[in-house]
Symmetry: C2
DNA sequence: CATGGCTATATAGTGTCTCTAAGTAGTGAG
DNA sequence: CTCACTACTTAGAGACACTATATAGCCATG
């Protein structure tokens, strides 16, 4: 497994509106690290495999830097496997707590928005 | 019913991260108009009742103006019910088509993100 | 050995959009 | 008259994604 971006092509979904990714990329990145430390380039491939399209380096790296500043992740350089060095990111306890919190909140928000969108939703007063 | 913002207080939820609202407010506004024309101030009250918090006028009105420019809505001034005039917004066919499209896409995106977040999701290779 | 491609991270410039804040205005109550 | 509520508008500041580019290690091809 020298190539973290092999396995399967994204299959479907290509690219979502950038505002949607802007809203979610933060906790998506925290979730990507929940299974153990990883590095930017591998995370981009992981997002691609899971149907989020190709996240740009110019988006992800500044985000991870902000998260390091905020104490959600810590970093460590490791040698690359036939290639340049890799900057590994690992969740802190704070990062894990944030992920847990955002998971719940996002679930609630997604539900609220999907219920509001529902074409069946009564829009005037509810008949009793 | 002279006050479009009576009924129930928001109950719970108060305010969501602004990026989450940024991602959704566009199609939320289209959905708010799906039941018939409405105006900004009433829409703000409607969002509040449905758990989205208090959307600011400085956010909603420029959005609606962009949608008018884009041909998703058309506008018409009507007299207010004891108060200033109201600028009513109505969906065009284009707006209705966009709403239908975004409803499907948002549903897919929300599902993709929630599946990715799932703590139970296998993160290394799936056992066969 | 040089050219290009893949891996990997970083930064600058531009544009969009939310937020805060304030302004304009009509109506009605004290 | 002044305040509160209704209702829309605009200005200024800040956050952040996008495009494009820079840097750099490693490897294959010719």
């Amino acid at each position: 497994m020298t190539d973290p971006r092999s396995e399967q092509p994204a299959a479907a979904a290509g690219d979502w509106p950038s505002d949607w990714l802007r809203a979610t990329l933060g906790f998506l990145a925290l979730r990507a690290l929940a299974a153990g430390p990883s590095y930017g380039y591998a995370m981009i491939g992981d997002f691609e495999q899971h149907g989020f399209g190709t996240i740009k380096g110019g988006t992800l790296y500044p985000l991870l830097t902000r998260y390091e500043t905020a104490g959600l992740v810590v970093t460590e350089w490791r040698a690359g496997d036939g290639g340049p060095g890799r900057k590994y990111f690992a969740l802190t306890d704070h990062g894990r707590a944030e992920l847990a919190r955002l998971r719940v909140e996002w679930h609630r928000f997604a539900g609220t928005s999907i219920r509001y969108l529902d074409p069946e939703r009564p829009t005037k007063e509810t008949p009793e």
